[in-house]
Structures are given as structure tokens and as C-alpha cells.
Amino acid sequence: MTTTNPAIEVRDFNFFYGDNKVLHDIALDIPQKQVTAFIGPSGCGKSTFLRSINRMNDIIPGARVEGRISLGGQDLYAPGVDVVSLRRRVGMVFQKSNPFPKSIYENVAYGLRIAGESDKRVLDSTIERSLQRAALWDEVKDRLNASALALSGGQQQRLCIARALAVDPEVLLMDEPASALDPIATQKIEELVYELKNNYTIVIVTHNMQQAARVSQRTAFFMLGKLVEFDDTRTIFMTPKEKLTEDYITGRFG
């Protein structure tokens, strides 16, 4: 399907919370510079899987993985992998926008500052570029020093996207980024996602099937911790191979 190597390869991936196996033998290839959507009913493991890609699950007590997720050929769970530098390569946007209680400028600068960047010109230009890419620049350019908490919900979420983009990741993970937003703010985020795929590999978890259909090129359908079907978004929505997928996207359950 894709002409280039996949950005992320997943093989026989299992995930446990304590003794509870929540992901079963996941295998899929996430293509470069496209949007891949994860859909499925609540509790199907799609968010857990997403958070396995930047190892955010490491901080959860009792979490354990088997199998392999590799990014550009490198196994993310191999011993000796530096989680901190991995997370620079794989950015993340959360369901609930979570800007720091700092200024707009300092929010976007955060990742750069911890990476040791202190040159004001570099910071300024990276922050402007990131805010532009997140389609927020025009709305905030006159008040970069205002508190991020004064922004609207949709603006806060785009700020979080800008913050993630500022450290120049290869992959952007988005965990239901628009689920707490109104329709107009949601539309902006969707347009943004569509735009961003030109530069980034994007994986988006969503509850909203229209959203998956609108923004993604590939869609993976999860249920009860298993990957049921993974194909071109068009195929999944028009001619799914699995009965389960069809039942889900036609709204028979979930």
C-alpha cells in the first residue's frame, strides 16, 4: 500500500496491567506521513496501545509489555532505550488539553528549554513556526506572554499541539484530541491534523467515526484488546472484511 518503509512496525505486541492482559498480539505497520486512526468501543485498548508507542504507560504501576514496537527499525522496548529521547521523537497530545500554568510563549518553549536551548532568536523563531503550524499564531501573536489558561478550550488544545511540534517529533500521537471540544473547535483540529500529515506521521485515537473517516488514510479497528481489522480508511468504512467491523461502523454496538 505504501511505497516507503513504515514509520512504526508492531509485532506480537501484548500489554498487561498486573495479571490482566489488555492487548493481544497486536501487529500492524503505521505508514509514514499519513494519518492512522484507531477506532473501537470504550475500553478496547486503543488508548493503551497509543500510549505504548511513546512508552507513557511506563509510569503506570504494574504495566508490562511483550513483543515489539519499532520506530525507524529501532525496538522501543529493547533494554537500554532512552525513554526521554524516545519521547522527543514521538510527541503526544492528550484528550484533555493540559497547558502548563505558564505563558503561551513558555508553554511552547518548554520542550526546547529542557533540551537545553536558550538562544532567544532560536526560541522565538521555533515558537512562531510551531504556533503557525498549529494554526494558532494569528490568534495569539499579540499576547504571547499572556497566561495559556486564559485561552479557550480549542485554543488550549492547539497550543498543546504547538508545544508538541516545537521539539520537532517524527510521530505525533493524538489521544481523542477533540473529544472535549465544541464542533467548531473540533473542525479546526481536524483541518489541522489533515494539514500536519504532510510533515509528520500521525496516529489519532477517536471515538468519532466520522472524524476517523474525514482525517485518516488508514484505520485500525480494535475490540476487546484485539486488532480486528486494519486497512485503508476507505475500505474499512465502505467494504470492511470483518463482520465485527461492519457492525461497529454501522452503529450496531459501541
Binding site: M56, I59, R64, V84, G91, F94, F100, G111, R163, A164
Partner: protein
């Protein structure tokens, strides 16, 4: 009948509230009435004279201030560090679960990590109960501990190594050892308040920072500590103000009955407002004559403690109004 019971009960509650208020009002009014007029410029800037029968309390104010500052320098960093360790670095799932997970992991790879987690959870549990028990120890016991541990053990041994034979510098009561003893007394307050403040920082801010490639320490330093700073300060100030009024811990560890000079070194002894109150009220040959001095001293001590408390409360209310997002 039930209505009567109800009324009686409400009346009882009201009476106890009034009683407590009355005690506080009488206490403060009495001290303010008799004490405020004693507080002259001379009283707070002059040393005692005529065998403590006249003069001021300047050295006691200086001694108390020095003691409190030194105590804060010891107690606040230690307490905050302990709380950060307890809240940010020990396993959130607790000892029982961590141990159960380790036992259940037989035959799987990565068992060492689970054992380390369980050990860390055990250390956290032990530390927490130690802190809780420390808070319940009577303050006079802290005083005896300070004498036995800091002065007779640590101080004497420092002397043995650094001083000529027979010379005593560290192995006696001093500002340093009194401050260390008081710091122990203050620690539980600081630790509990700091943990409370750390708990108010939302977990999703920690995740946001980690997801941007921050290490755990960078996350604590740049997100968690700034977000909980005022809570930590409030707790520290309240702990310090409690320590400032305590006399028992410094009885044997450095407080002096009377000193003709001001302390200039951490090895010096010092005068202290609380101890001065004790001395004035128990050692005076003429109780009636020292009464005004006593009132004045108590007034100054109370005023200083209140100031600290008010500062703590102010910081807390300011954060509350700012903290809502």
C-alpha cells in the same frame, strides 16, 4: 420531645464554641492589655538589667530569630526533599500491591524491577509511619534526644577530632544543636504539608511534561514544584511558627538563662523569648516586680508567632484564588 432534644443539643454545641472563643479572647485580651504597654522602644532594643529585674529583651528576640532562621534552613530542605521522594518517587500502588505483583511475577523477565519497586514501597511505608510517630513525640523528648544525640554524640566526637584535648567547642549547647533539635520537631509538619501541596498538582501536567521528553526530575523542578510552591511555603511557615514557640526542645540544647553578649556563631549559646518567659516566671526573687516584663515578653512572643501564622494564611488564600483554572 424530639424537638426539645434537638434544641438542647444545639445549645450544647453553641456553648462549647462560645467557651473556646471566650478562652481565646480572654487570653489575648489579657496579654494585649498588660503586655502592649510594656513594649517600648527600650524594651525591644535593650538587654535585661539588674538580674533580669529590669531592662529589655533584645537578646532574646535576636536569639529567637537566629534560632528560627537556622532551624528553617535545616528543616525545610530536608522536609521538602523527603516529601518529594515520598510523593513522586515511591510506587503509587502501595506496599501490599507491589509485593503481590512481585510474588505473582515468578518466572517472568524483569522481576528485579518489581522487587526494587516493592522495596521502595516498603521504605515509603516505613518513612511515612516514622513521620507520623515523630509528630506524636512529646517535645521534651526531642530536647533530651538533642542533648544525647547532637551534643553528646555528634558534638563530642567532632571535638575529639578537631579540638585540642580537653577543649569543648561543639560538644555543648549551641544555636546549631538547638536548631537541629527544633528542626526534628518541625519536620513532620513540613513533610505532611509538602506532600499535600504536591498532591494538588494535576497528574496530566506531569504527563504533558514527560511526553515532551522531560526527565522525572526536570518535570518536578519545572512543573511540580512551581505549581506547589505556595502550598509548600504555607506548610513550612506554619511548621516554623509552631517550632518558634517551643521551649522544651531547646532547654538542654543551647538556650541560655542570661548572656551578656549576642550570639555571633552557630556554636554560641543564645537567649530565647519562650525560655525567657520560663525564667522570668520561675526564677525571679520578686514575682510582682517582674510581672510587667513577663507580660511584655509574652506579648512579643505571641505577636511574632501570629505574624508568621498570618503570613502563612495570606500565602494560602492568595494561591487559592489564583489556583482555580
Amino acid at each position: 420531645m424530639r424537638k426539645v432534644k434537638d434544641r438542647v443539643f444545639i445549645a450544647l454545641l453553641g456553648t462549647s464554641v462560645l467557651l473556646i472563643l471566650a478562652i481565646l479572647v480572654v487570653l489575648i485580651a489579657n496579654i494585649a492589655y498588660h503586655g502592649a504597654r510594656q513594649v517600648t522602644w527600650e524594651f525591644i532594643t535593650q538587654p535585661p538589667r539588674d538580674g533580669l529585674m529590669a531592662g529589655g529583651i533584645f537578646p532574646a528576640i535576636v536569639g529567637t530569630a537566629a534560632l528560627v532562621i537556622l532551624m528553617s534552613v535545616v528543616a525545610v530542605p530536608l522536609g521538602v526533599a523527603t516529601a518529594i521522594y515520598l510523593h513522586e518517587y515511591t510506587p503509587a500502588e502501595g506496599l501490599t500491591l507491589a509485593w503481590r505483583r512481585f510474588k505473582a511475577s515468578k518466572g517472568r523477565p524483569g522481576r528485579g524491577r518489581l522487587l526494587a519497586r516493592a522495596a521502595s514501597a516498603l521504605l515509603a511505608t516505613v518513612t511515612r509511619s516514622a513521620v507520623a510517630n515523630l509528630a506524636g513525640v512529646p517535645s521534651i523528648v526531642f530536647g533530651l534526644f538533642g542533648l544525647g544525640f547532637f551534643i553528646q554524640f555528634i558534638g563530642r566526637n567532632i571535638d575529639r577530632v578537631t579540638q585540642p584535648p580537653g577543649e569543648v567547642l561543639w560538644g555543648q549547647g549551641s544555636l546549631l544543636w538547638a536548631a537541629c533539635t527544633l528542626a526534628l520537631l518541625t519536620l513532620p509538619t513540613v513533610i505532611v504539608a509538602t506532600e499535600e501541596a504536591l498532591r494538588t498538582v494535576p497528574q496530566d501536567l506531569r504527563e504533558a511534561s514527560l511526553a515532551l521528553g522531560a526527565t522525572q526530575w526536570e518535570t518536578i523542578r519545572r512543573v511540580v514544584l512551581p505549581g506547589s510552591l505556595s502550598g509548600i511555603l504555607t506548610g513550612a511557615i506554619l511548621g516554623i511558627s509552631r517550632g518558634a514557640g517551643e521551649v522544651a526542645p531547646i532547654l538542654f540544647t543551647g538556650a541560655a538563662y542570661y548572656l551578656p553578649y549576642l550570639p555571633t556563631d552557630v556554636t554560641d549559646q543564645f537567649m530565647h523569648l519562650g525560655y525567657h518567659v520560663l525564667i522570668l516566671s520561675t526564677q525571679s526573687p520578686d514575682v510582682e516586680a517582674t510581672k510587667p516584663l513577663l507580660y511584655g515578653t509574652v506579648f512579643v512572643l505571641l505577636a511574632l508567632t501570629f505574624l508568621l501564622n498570618i503570613a502563612g494564611v495570606l500565602i494560602r488564600t492568595r494561591t487559592r484564588s489564583r489556583g482555580s483554572r
